[in-house]
C-alpha cells in the first residue's frame, strides 16, 4: 500500500518533534500529530490518514483504548495502526497483534530507519 499521510500519536512533545521530522523528511510523508488518545480519534476522523502510529502508554486514554475507539469509528475502522512501545516483552507485542495492529515498533526508534521499518510492516500492494 502507498502512504501519503501519517498520524503520529504520542504524549511527549519531543518525541512528536523527532518523529515528525523522521516521517516527513526521511519518509517523505505528510505528517499530522496528536498529543493524546482523544485528540487522535478526532484528528483521524478529520484528516483520514493512511496510517496511524500510536503510542501505548499515554495518560488518560492509553494506546489500546484509543485503538478500540478508532476501530469503532467508521472512517477509521480499517486504517492500519502500528503501536509504538517502550516495553518490548514478547507477550506484549503478541497482545497488540492480536488486537489487530499491523505491527509494533519499539522505542527508542532510529529516526533514519523508522520509515523503512514502517514500510516493512505494511502489506505490500
Amino acid at each position: 500500500m502507498t502512504i501519503h499521510k501519517v498520524l503520529l500519536v504520542d504524549d511527549e512533545e519531543d518525541i512528536r518533534t523527532v518523529g515528525h521530522l523522521s516521517l516527513s523528511r526521511v519518509g517523505g510523508w505528510q505528517t499530522v500529530l496528536a498529543a493524546s488518545g482523544a485528540e487522535a480519534v478526532s484528528q483521524a476522523a478529520a484528516e483520514r490518514p493512511d496510517l496511524i502510529l500510536l503510542d501505548v502508554m499515554m495518560p488518560g486514554m492509553d494506546g489500546p483504548t484509543t485503538f478500540g475507539q478508532l476501530r469503532a469509528q467508521e472512517s477509521t475502522a480499517h486504517t492500519p495502526i502500528i503501536f509504538m512501545t517502550a516495553k518490548s516483552q514478547k507477550q506484549e507485542v503478541a497482545s497488540y497483534l492480536e488486537l489487530g495492529a499491523v505491527g509494533v515498533i519499539s522505542k527508542p526508534f532510529d529516526p533514519m530507519t523508522l520509515p523503512s521499518e514502517i514500510k516493512k510492516l505494511l502489506p505490500s500492494s
Partner: protein
C-alpha cells in the same frame, strides 16, 4: 534369663550322678538283705557308690565357681546397662529441651496436626502469627486458620493432598497462599506441610511463614523494572532521535568537528540503550520471568545464523570466522535465546582476537544425549583467578578494543542465565597466551534408532467442502486447515464432481442445499459410483430431514455451526469404525493398568505405550480417538511426541496432558494437538481424567456401549 539357664545346666548332671549313686546303694541294700552278696562284692559296690558320690561333690564345687563368675559378669552388665540407660535419658531430655527451644524461638509458626487436621500443638510464633493463644488454638480445625476463604480450590486441593493419610513421611509440600488471623486479617503465607515419621496415627507438621514483606519487595521490584523501562526509554527516544537526525544530515550538512561531537553523543546514546536493555533482560531472567520457547532447533542452522550476523564485525576486526558442526542434529532450545548466547560469545571472541586471528564455533555430540558448543579464540586467554568473576555483572577484561566496542559488561551474565535456564552451564578454559574456549552444553533432541524416523510427516487428511455460501466456505477452510486438513473447495455440484474425478477425498463436507442440486439426492447418486461408494459425508443443514437420518456413513451437523461439534463430526466420519480407541502413554505400568481398566469400563479400547517413541508409533498405527499423555517419558518426552504428531494428520487429535509437572503457559501451548486439556496428577485426578475423556470421546463411547449392550 541367665540364672534359670545356669541352674538347668548345673542340675542336670548332678541329679544324674545322685540317682546313679542312690540306685547302687539300694541295689546293695536289697542284695545284702537276701544274703546274696559276698563280702568282696559288698565292698566293691560301696566303693563305686562312694566314688560316684565324691565325683558328684567335686563337679558341684566346679559348677558353683562357674555360677559365681557368671553372677559377677551379670552384675557388671546390669550396671553397664543402667549407666547407658541413664545417658540415653539425659540425651532424650536434652534433645527434648533443644526441640522445645527451637519451637519456642522459631520465627515460623510450627503447628502439629492430627489426621483430621485438628491442632495438637501450637508454638509461640504461631500464636503471634495467628494472634491466637495456644490454649484456644488446640483442637481447632487448622484449615479454618491456615487457608483464607479466598484461597483457590486448586490450592485447597493441594493442601488436602499434602495432608492425606497415605502421604510419605519426610516429603514436604510447599505452597504460597493466604492465611487468616483470628481477628479476620488475611496475610500472604508460605505453608510447608510434612508428615511426621512416627508409628501410630498420622501426624503432620505445618510450618507457616508470613511473606507479606517478600511479596511487597517482589511487587516493588517488578514495578521498578517496568517504570525504569518506560521512564528511561522515552527520554532516550528523543535524545537518540535528535542525534540521529543531525547525524543523518536531515537538518542540513554539519561542519566536520560538529559532526564528530554528534557522533560521540550518538554512539554513547546507543550504548546507554544497550545497557538498559541488558539490565532489564537480566532482571527478567533472574526473576524467572523469561519464558523459553523450547523447540527442536537445528544446530548447524543456528550457528550459521549467528556467524552471518557477525561477519561484518569480524571483517572490520580482520578476524576469520569458522564453524565445525557436522552431524550434531538438533537441540531442544529457544532459538532466539541460543543465538543471543552464541552471538555474545562469538562477538567477545572477536573483540579479544588479534588481527588475522581465527574464531571457531564447534558443536559436538556427547554420549549423554547432549550437544556441546565451543567458542574458541586465539586471544590472550583468561587468567585462572579472573575466571570465577567473569560471569558476574559488569565484568570486563582489559583489552585494547573492549571499550571501543562498547560492551555493557552484562553479556556473559545474561548468557550464563540463559544457558542455566536451559539446564546447562557455561565454562571457560585455556591457559593464558593460548586463547580462550567457552563451553556449554544443551540437551539433544533424542532420535529413535529403529522404525521412527525424523523425516517430516507431511501426511494430511483431505476434505472437500461443497457449499455455495462463500462466507461459510471460508470459515470451514479456516477451521479445517487449522486442524491439519488439506482443504479442497467447490461452490456447486458441477465443481465438486470435477474434484471427485481427480480422486476421492477422505471426507466430504456438504451443504444440504446447493444451487444446482439437493445434497441428499446427490449423496445417494454418488453412492452408486465406485470411487465415492464408501466416501464419508458430513452434511450441514438447519434440520435433519426424516429421510436423512440413518443413512450409512452420513453425519448431520446442524447450522448455525458449533465449531467443536463440526470438527468432531469430521474426525469421527473419517475414523475407522469400531469402539472408541484411547492411547495411554505413561511410564508407570501401574497407572496405565488402572486407567485402562477404567476406560474399558466406559466402553473404550485401550492401547498402552511406556515411552515416547512407542507412543508415536502406536498413534500412527492405531489411529486413536484420544491420547492421554504424561510429559516426563523415556525415549522421547511428551513435548517431542506432540511435536512429531503435530506434523502429520494426527494434529487435530484430542489430547489430555496428564502430568505431575507444572507447565508454563508457553509449555502448554507447545503441548497442544486438537482439543487439549491439562489435568495435573493429584488427588481425584483420575476421576477428572475420566470425565474429560468421556466428554472428548462423546458419542463414540455411546456407540460402543450400545453395541456392547446389543451383543
Amino acid at each position: 534369663m541367665t540364672t534359670p539357664w545356669v541352674k538347668t545346666q548345673l542340675s542336670k548332671p548332678l541329679v544324674g550322678l545322685a540317682s546313679v549313686a542312690l540306685v547302687l546303694l539300694c541295689t546293695l541294700f536289697v542284695l545284702d538283705r537276701f544274703g546274696r552278696l559276698s563280702e568282696h562284692a559288698r565292698v566293691t559296690f560301696f566303693i563305686v557308690a562312694l566314688l560316684l558320690g565324691l565325683y558328684g561333690v567335686v563337679r558341684l564345687g566346679r559348677r558353683s565357681a562357674a555360677l559365681h563368675a557368671l553372677n559377677s559378669e551379670l552384675e557388671r552388665r546390669v550396671e553397664e546397662r543402667t549407666a547407658a540407660l541413664a545417658a540415653t535419658h539425659a540425651e532424650l531430655r536434652e534433645s527434648k529441651a533443644r526441640k522445645a527451644a527451637i519451637l519456642e524461638s522459631s520465627v515460623d509458626g510450627i503447628i502439629t496436626l492430627d489426621e483430621a487436621h485438628r491442632i495438637l500443638d501450637f508454638n509461640p510464633a504461631a500464636e503471634r502469627l495467628f494472634r491466637l493463644p495456644r490454649a484456644v488454638a488446640l483442637g481447632r480445625d487448622f484449615l479454618s486458620l491456615g487457608l483464607a476463604a479466598s484461597v483457590s480450590p486448586e490450592l485447597r486441593e493441594g493442601v488436602m493432598w499434602a495432608l492425606r493419610a497415605d502421604v510419605q513421611p519426610g516429603r514436604a509440600a510447599r505452597l504460597e497462599l493466604s492465611s487468616v488471623r483470628a481477628d479476620g486479617d488475611v496475610f500472604p503465607s508460605e505453608l510447608t506441610l510434612t508428615r511426621v515419621a512416627a508409628e501410630g496415627p498420622p501426624r503432620f507438621t505445618a510450618y507457616v511463614r508470613d511473606i507479606t514483606e517478600r511479596k511487597e519487595v517482589e511487587r516493588m521490584k517488578s514495578e521498578f523494572v517496568s517504570v525504569v523501562s518506560h521512564e528511561l526509554r522515552n527520554p532516550l527516544t528523543s535524545i537518540r532521535g535528535s542525534l540521529g537526525l543531525l547525524e543523518g544530515g536531515v537538518l542540513g550538512e554539519l561542519p566536520s568537528p560538529v559532526l564528530d561531537m554528534v557522533r560521540i553523543a550518538s554512539t554513547n546514546a546507543e550504548r546507554l540503550i544497550r545497557l538498559i536493555n541488558d539490565i532489564l533482560d537480566l532482571e527478567k531472567m533472574e526473576a524467572g520471568k523469561v519464558e523459553l520457547r523450547l523447540q527442536p532447533v537445528e544446530v548447524a542452522e543456528v550457528v550459521e545464523a549467528t556467524l552471518g550476523g557477525l561477519r561484518g564485525m569480524a571483517d572490520t576486526s580482520k578476524v576469520e570466522l569458522h564453524a565445525e558442526v557436522g552431524g550434531t542434529g538438533q537441540v531442544r532450545a529457544d532459538r532466539d535465546r541460543l543465538i543471543q548466547v552464541l552471538t555474545n560469545l562469538v562477538s567477545n571472541a572477536i573483540k579479544f582476537s588479534p588481527s588475522g586471528g581465527r574464531v571457531t564455533v564447534r558443536a559436538l555430540s556427547e554420549v549423554q544425549g547432549r550437544v556441546r558448543f565451543e567458542v574458541v579464540d586465539q586471544g590472550p586467554g583468561i587468567p585462572v583467578e579472573k575466571r570465577a568473576k567473569l560471569f558476574g555483572r559488569f565484568q570486563q577484561l582489559d583489552s585494547p578494543s573492549t571499550r571501543s566496542v562498547g560492551g555493557t559488561g552484562l553479556g556473559l551474565a545474561i548468557s550464563q542465565a540463559i544457558v542455566e535456564q536451559h539446564g546447562g552451564h557455561i565454562e571457560v578454559q585455556g591457559e593464558p597466551g593460548e586463547g580462550a574456549t567457552f563451553t556449554f552444553s544443551l540437551s539433544a533432541v533424542k532420535l529413535d534408532s529403529s522404525s521412527l524416523s525424523r523425516v517430516r510427516d507431511e501426511s494430511r487428511y483431505s476434505a472437500l467442502v461443497v457449499t455455495a455460501d462463500t462466507g461459510l466456505s471460508a470459515l470451514l477452510r479456516g477451521l479445517l486447515t487449522r486442524e491439519g486438513y488439506r482443504v479442497l473447495r467447490a461452490g456447486s455440484r458441477a465443481e465438486a464432481e470435477k474434484h471427485l474425478e481427480a480422486g476421492a477425498p477422505d471426507v466430504l463436507v456438504l451443504e444440504a442445499r446447493l444451487p444446482d442440486d439437493e445434497g441428499l439426492a446427490l449423496v445417494r447418486r454418488w453412492r452408486e459410483e465406485p470411487v465415492t461408494r464408501e466416501l464419508p459425508v458430513v452434511m450441514l443443514a438447519e434440520r435433519v430431514p426424516p429421510e436423512g437420518a440413518g443413512l450409512p456413513r452420513v453425519d448431520w451437523v446442524k447450522r448455525p455451526l458449533d465449531e467443536a461439534s463440526f470438527l468432531r463430526a469430521v474426525r469421527h466420519a473419517i475414523r475407522a469404525p469400531g469402539p472408541a480407541r484411547v492411547l495411554v502413554v505413561d511410564d508407570e505400568a501401574e497407572l496405565r493398568r488402572l486407567l485402562r481398566s477404567h476406560l474399558e469400563k466406559l466402553g473404550a479400547a485401550c492401547v498402552e505405550a511406556a515411552h515416547g517413541a512407542r507412543a508415536v508409533e502406536l498413534a500412527r498405527e492405531a489411529a486413536p480417538d484420544l491420547i492421554i499423555l504424561d510429559v516426563q517419558l523415556p525415549e522421547l518426552d511428551g513435548f517431542e511426541v506432540v511435536d512429531m504428531l503435530r506434523q502429520g494428520k494426527l494434529r487435530g487429535l484430542p489430547l489430555i496432558v496428564f502430568t505431575v509437572r507444572e507447565l508454563t503457559p508457553a509449555e502448554l501451548r507447545q503441548l497442544t494437538l486438537g482439543t487439549t486439556r491439562l489435568i495435573p496428577k493429584g488427588p481425584r485426578a483420575e476421576e477428572e481424567l475420566l470425565e474429560v475423556a468421556q466428554e472428548l470421546l462423546g458419542e463414540l463411547l455411546g456407540e460402543s456401549e450400545s453395541r456392547r449392550a446389543a451383543s
